[in-house]
Every structure is written in C-alpha cells, then in structure tokens.
Symmetry: C2
Subunit: 483 residues, 2 copies
C-alpha cells in the first residue's frame, strides 16, 4: 500500500511524490449505497478521530480527506525500514498514548532513537563562526544548564509556576508567561547565558515550536517543560527518545483495526469534507464530491490551521473563528536522510542560526547498514525540501559533511489538510482562546490535539481528545434510541 502523501528522493530515481505506508487503507471505503444516517460522524482519521471512532461504541461514519490514517503522525516503510513523516516519539509518562500501548500489548515494540556507541560519538555545534565538537556528556551539561535558566522563572525550575501541567485552568501566572514570547524571556536572561548556551537553548526551543523565537509562546514551552518533569533529561525521554520499531502506522492501524472489528464502523478515505450543518435535530456533513451524510452528533477532528477551510453552519463562535483565523505557528520541516557515513550514527548536532535545518541526529541504521539521520527546521530560514534538493542536501551538510543517498519527508507547510506541523501557539492564543477552541457547539464536538489539556500537540493529546469526544457523545446519546 502507498499514500499520495510525502516525498522520497534518491540520485537514481530523483524526486517522487507518494511513499509506501501500511496506514493507507484498502479498500478506501466500506460505504454501501444505503448508508446515510449514523449515530455519529467523525471527520478526521488521525489519532484523535481514530480513538473517537473506536471508543464511541455507536454506529460511526469516519470520513478522512487523505488516503491513509494517522493525520500528522504516520510512517513510511521503505525497503523494510520505517521513516517517521510526522509525530514519532512516545513515552510511558504520556498517559493516553501509553494506555493504548499497554492495551495493545506493544510495550516491547519500542526502540531507542539514539545509539551513542558508534563512530563519531559527538555533539556538533555548527554556528556562524564554524563548528565546535563536544562529548554527549558535555552536550547534556550545556543543554541542562541553559534550559534550566530559561525555565527557572520561580527559583524552582518552573515547579511553582506550573504545578499541575495537565490542569484545565491557566493560572494568572501562566497567562503572564503566555503573553511573553521566548524571545522576551531570552532578553531577560541573556546575560546569564554563555554564547554556546544561547545557541543551544534557541535551537532547542525552535525544535519544539517550529516557529520563530518571537512567535513562540513562552508559556507553551514551559508547559512542555513541566510535562517532561521539569528537566532537560526529562525532555529528552519524553520528546525524542523512544519510537516504534515498526513505525507509527503500526500503532495507528491497531485503532482502526479494532474499530472495524466491532462491526460499528463505516469509513471513507480520500473524501474531504466541504461543509457541516448542524440542524438542531442532527448534523449534515457534505463532502467535496457532494455526498451528504447525517448523524445525531458530529466529532470534528480537523486541525486548527485548516478549520476555516470547511464551511460550518451555524458559523463558529467568535472565539473559535478568531482562533482559527490566527492559527498556530508551527511550520516544522522534518527531513530524513539515509547517508553512507556509518560513523555518524552517534552524532547529534545543532546548525544555527544560519542553516535551514537546525537540529539533527542519528536516528537509526537502515537495512543496508547506512545511517539514518533526521533533521528539523521551521519558520526560521524556512524552505520547501522538494523545491531544491541540492539546497536540502546542503542543509544536512550544515551539521557536518555527509554523503546523502536518500531523502524522505512530508512537507507539512504545503499540506492542504494540515497547513503546518504539530500545534504551537504564538503568544496570547492559549490565554484568550483555549476555552473557545475546546467548547462544543450544539451537536458538534471539536476534538483535536491542538487544544488538548495535557500533551497538547502530541499523539497523546490527540488520544486524550478522542476519548473526551467519544465520552461526550456517549453521554449525550445514553438512553436515547440509537441507529
């Protein structure tokens, strides 16, 4: 199976759109001519929509614009090796995601991205003035020191400022930090940072936000920090360390398979939704190809940055409308390279502020024995990897010389069903609109990782929201006659 999403490039084959994916669903639909009324219609088959569809225990129609499940988290298996096109890492401290991993008995299907036992076992800091080389212990010390300074707003490294990181309530202190950008915070502490610390902390924040320092809410960074246990070591464990040996799609497919086996699931892929109408006694969903479906309730798992592209009637509440118009700022570029330099398996690196790819590291070994390097850029020096392959390869070589044999990536910025990567807010968005984004409107429940309370932006937050939506619909329809 293959998806139209994503790109791969090799010297021999050149640039090719579309990559293999076990999350591309065949047949693309199990609709029959007679299906038109459901208990609930779920729009979006990312983790949020999948969890909602699976957990609703009702007659569900799942509509998805793409040809595959997973939304912003999916993997492509190329020559037996999984490349993660979007959301990748999971951790047992992430409650919703780990609950599912345990439930599917996948606890032993994780592997560690890093392998610090090989070749060039170094941390490379490529600044405008040239490249410095450090041990990973020195890297850890430098990053722990600089991030602790960034987060230490209260003398307790953020513990007092954000004591309950999963809370639904933004405290006055949280709001204060949400109205600051990370650039504002760095201005406060810059005299306390060494040049290398400053380089490291800025690159790390941009790795998280995919925006610029000015458009990155300082609160949201603190929120990630608090969720990760208020330490750099925690950030590594939670954010970039453990991934599925079989790729994300090996996980997502379990949700879809389970939902399907219940006998309650009707689905249609490659079926973008054009408009959604809440008539009071039920919801009408019309696809771009002008099919209309009806249900008592509807769960929208449509991401914030594309929410305005669907016509809702009645229109959005003013808060949701404005939030959708503002959107989030994450324009992460994530590119995989298969390189023949086997010694680079153990490297980590920052290339900043001049380079297009800011953060990179050895992320695995391909079946050919080559090194797999993953690298991240964003709105800072933004580029489209498919537009100029030489430029993309040069951005990898911004870390250190390497011989690129293959590239694999998904351009989230040009993806019409995402218009960006994981949610990251500019200053003020959460303080002002989080409640509005989470609120239901009539028979429509809005569920998305973009406005989860805990691991917002993460797979975990998507499942949190899917579970919330399913429970809401079940609560609504309990005792009523169902379809």
């Amino acid at each position: 199976m293959a998806s139209k999403d994503g790109f791969s490039w090799t010297k021999a084959q050149g640039l090719k759109p579309g990559v293999p994916c076990i999350g591309a669903i065949e047949p693309p639909s199990n609709l029959t001519g007679t299906d038109s009324r459901f208990d609930v219609i779920v729009v979006g088959a990312g983790y949020c929509g999948l969890a909602a569809a699976r957990d609703a225990s009702l007659k569900v129609l799942l509509l998805e614009a793409r040809d595959r499940i997973g939304g912003r988290s999916w993997s492509s298996n190329i020559d037996g090796y999984p490349y993660e096109m979007g959301g990748t890492w999971v951790y047992w401290g992430q409650p919703n995601v780990w609950r599912e991993i345990a439930r599917y008995g996948m606890q032993d299907e994780l592997e560690i991205s890093y392998d610090f036992s090989r070749g060039i076992n170094k941390y490379l800091l490529a600044g405008a003035q040239g490249t410095q080389s450090f041990s990973h212990d020195e890297e850890d010390a430098m990053m722990a020191s600089s991030l602790s300074k960034l987060a230490n707003v209260d003398g307790f490294f953020g513990r007092k400022a954000i004591p309950f990181p999963h809370s639904g309530v933004l405290s006055p202190e949280a709001r204060k930090y949400d109205h600051m950008s990370v650039a504002d915070r760095i201005a406060e502490i810059k005299s306390d940072l060494t040049p290398n610390e400053r380089l490291g902390v800025e690159a790390f924040v941009l790795l998280c936000s995919g925006g610029t320092l000015e458009t990155t809410s300082f609160y949201e960074f603190l929120h990630w920090w608090a969720l990760s246990g208020y330490s750099y070591e925690g950030c590594i464990s939670y954010l970039v360390k453990y991934k599925f040996r079989g790729g994300q799609s090996s996980f997502a497919i379990r949700f879809f398979g389970e939902a399907l086996s219940s006998g309650n699931l009707t689905y249609a892929f490659s079926r973008p939704v054009a408009s959604i109408k809440d008539r009071g006694d039920g919801v009408q969903v019309t696809t771009r190809d002008e099919q209309t479906f009806e249900a008592a309730r509807m769960i929208s798992a449509i991401p914030l940055n594309v929410l305005s592209d669907v016509v809702f009637e009645p229109p959005f509440s003013p808060g949701r409308k404005t939030a959708a118009k503002i959107g989030h700022v994450n324009q992460t570029i994530k590119v995989h390279a298969e390189i023949s330099d086997r010694d680079l398996r153990s490297f980590t690196g920052i290339s900043y502020p001049h380079n297009g790819l800011i953060y990179g590291f050895g992320d695995g070994e391909t079946p050919a024995g080559n090194t797999h390097v993953v690298a991240f850029g964003g709105k800072h020096n933004h580029f489209h990897p498919e537009d100029n392959i030489d430029h993309t390869i040069a951005a990898f070589q911004g870390f250190t010389p390497m011989n690129v044999e293959r590239l694999v990536f998904h351009n989230w910025s040009r993806d019409e069903f995402a218009k960006g990567a994981w949610f990251f807010p500019a200053p003020g968005l959460l303080s002002t609109y989080l409640k509005d984004m989470r609120a239901r409107q009539g028979n429509i429940i809005f569920a998305c990782s973009d406005w989860a309370l805990g691991w917002r932006s993460f797979i975990d937050g998507a499942i949190e929201e899917g579970a919330r939506a399913a429970a809401t619909v079940q609560g609504d329809l309990a005792g009523r006659a169902k379809i």
Copy 2:
C-alpha cells in the same frame, strides 16, 4: 451510604466497625429473576473489574463480595473529610489512571498531601536511640542519597538495569535482582550508608512492600524506582503526593456510573463467589448463596492472596496454583489519626526499627481545623489496630507526642477478600510465576493489578489489567452472536 468495611474510633464513641462510603452501592443489586446468561461475568468490583465491566461493551454481570466498589482503594467521608482506606495517590505519569482522570475531566480535582508551610515543619527520625530533627531539605538530601545508593546497581541508578520499566519481559538482570531480597542488597552496600541513611532506606522500602527486608524482592523495589523516574524526587511525586480532594471513591464511582449508564451492566454486591466452572462452551459462576450465572467468558479480578479461596474447575495451571499458594507478602497497616496538634500538619517522620508504625506524615486538615496524620506499618512489628487502641495510639506517639482524637483504618490483613494490602512479592515470585499469573485459562481471563506489567500493585495497574481483559473478551466475541 456506609460500608461494613473499615473501623473508626473516637474516645466518645469507642471502636465502631463500618464507615460511611460514597462507593457503597444502593440498591445492592439490579438483578432480575430472569437474568442468568451474560456475555461476560466480571468477578470483583475494584478498579480492574470496574474498568473491565465498563470497557467490555457487552452484556456484563459484575459480582462483588463486598458492599462497595473499589476493592483495595476506597475512601470514607467522615464529617465531610475523606480518609483513604487503601490505595490513595495518583500521578499524571501513571498512564492508565491519568487517562481516566483526563477522560472524566477530573484534572483539577487533585490536591497535594503535603503542606510544608506550617508549625513543626520538620522531618523526625525516631530511632531506638531517640529522636533527631531535620529540615525537609535535609530529609530530601538524606533520602535521595540513600535510595540512590540502594538502586545504583549499574552506575546509572538503575537506568541500564531496567531501561523499559513497563516491559513484559524480565531480563536476565532483572531476574537476578528478583532472586535477591532488599536485605541482601543492603548487605552489599551497608558500609556505604550512614546510620541515618540506613534507617531511612529500610523504612522507605518497608513503606513500599509492607513486608520485611528479607521478604521484599529487590527487583520489585527497583521496578517501582524505575517507574518513578529513577529518583527519590520521582518516588515522592508518583507514590505519595497527589490525591483526590473528594477521595478515591469519588473517582471509582465514575467508572461504575458510566458502566451502568450504558444499559449493559447487571450487578450484585455482597455476593461472594464460591466456585467457577469453565465448561468449554461457557463459564458457570456460583455464588456462596448458591445462585448460578452463565456467560461466554469470565474475568476474574480476584486478588492473588484470596484466589485459592474460590474453587476453580478445571483447576489452576500448576504455576498459578503455586503462585496463589505462595501469595504476596504485603501486610501493610495504614492508620489515619485526627489529632488536635495543628502544628504537626507539616511533619514527616520515620519511627524504626522499634515501632509498629514506621512512616508517618501530615496528610491534610480536617474541617474542625485539626491535623490529619497518616501512618504506615507492615509485617515488621505487625499488629492489628483494632485489637488494642492504646497500642495503636502509642504507635502514633512513636513519631512525636500527639493528641489523637480519632482513628480511621481498614485492617487489610484480616480482610477475607484481600488478605493483605497491595501486591508485593517475595524474592523469586515474579521471575517464576508472572507469566503464569497473567495467562488465561480457557474462557477465564485473570486480570488483577497484582500481575500488571507497568504499575503493578497500583490503581494504574488495576486499570491496565481491566482494559486488557475487556479487550481480550471483545476480541474473542467479535463477530460472534452476543447475548
């Protein structure tokens, strides 16, 4: 509502069995004369059984020996104040429990047990030679140092020895430590411990296991340590810090309420099961009052220490039979005291090795403005709190003089449906029998926190197991005609 479980004592009223509980269910059953065949029978209405019954989405009969939900985790509200009779603390790093808290929107219903802002803000170490007094910072430093020495088997504080604490596989290294007791491990490191560190580390381990140092598997302690993020600070956060403002039963009742609202749940409390017979084509469950019920599948959420008290036919596999005969070692004594000494709200203390209650601390403020102290003992100097109230009060005064006005407790050792507190294994049990305890036999799924993979012994592990059991039964019955 009240349960027959538990005891309360005041000078005015003396000792009284039974305490108020919002988890005591009225009416005690919704069985009708015509109900006798179900899709699945769940035996045990602790968190495991509740999660299984709720998640199965089938026609379920839930049978419970007690008059209340919650099993070994329940709370009594006395004069508007919740006393936790068993499992108490939860944390957002515990995946299964936090998934439920998020799903029920209870993220802001937690409070912190400690309040280090009051009166006698001290750590009291009452050894055989007298009482020493330290600041809480000194306490943290001493406990962090001593526990790190205990856990540092690999130069990485256990990170190399137990890299995946939720794994289903016990590595050869894990097995090695499982065949050691904590007494064995302390013998290895004793020359590296100061007298106070030794006192602290032994008391802390006994707080975890409720056994003796000789009967406490060193591996299982390491497992707790790894789950808690390999640090003393993590242990405090995960194990004894955050609890429900409304008590555990305010959480458990959500599971029961949801299961009931689905319309699929039939239940009967105060209905202990006598025998369970798997006939191949289904399971017959017979209660002590000689009613028989039938189902396609059965989920046993019966704890290890009382599993042998129910007659199973066909009999247990040899491994399960031996494991049930050996049982676990935790005979924790947990007693609450309401004391008029308001200054003790901020104390923590150890009283060891001479005292009956080993670990105690201020755990809240009652509506009368008094201090609530919770204290723990176990197999070491074991006693039954209800047998001699003067002895029980004297055990509290083993920490520091205090004026006890009320006692509240559940004697888990004499509880015929638990025969002990949370699961804690003696050396060798897990290495030899974990797989056997987890295995299904025919149509019977054995689910219990006692053999969970992750947070085994915890509420989290109970929900992990309940989810596993429900998914197993759903998988079995998918596609079949259900009741």
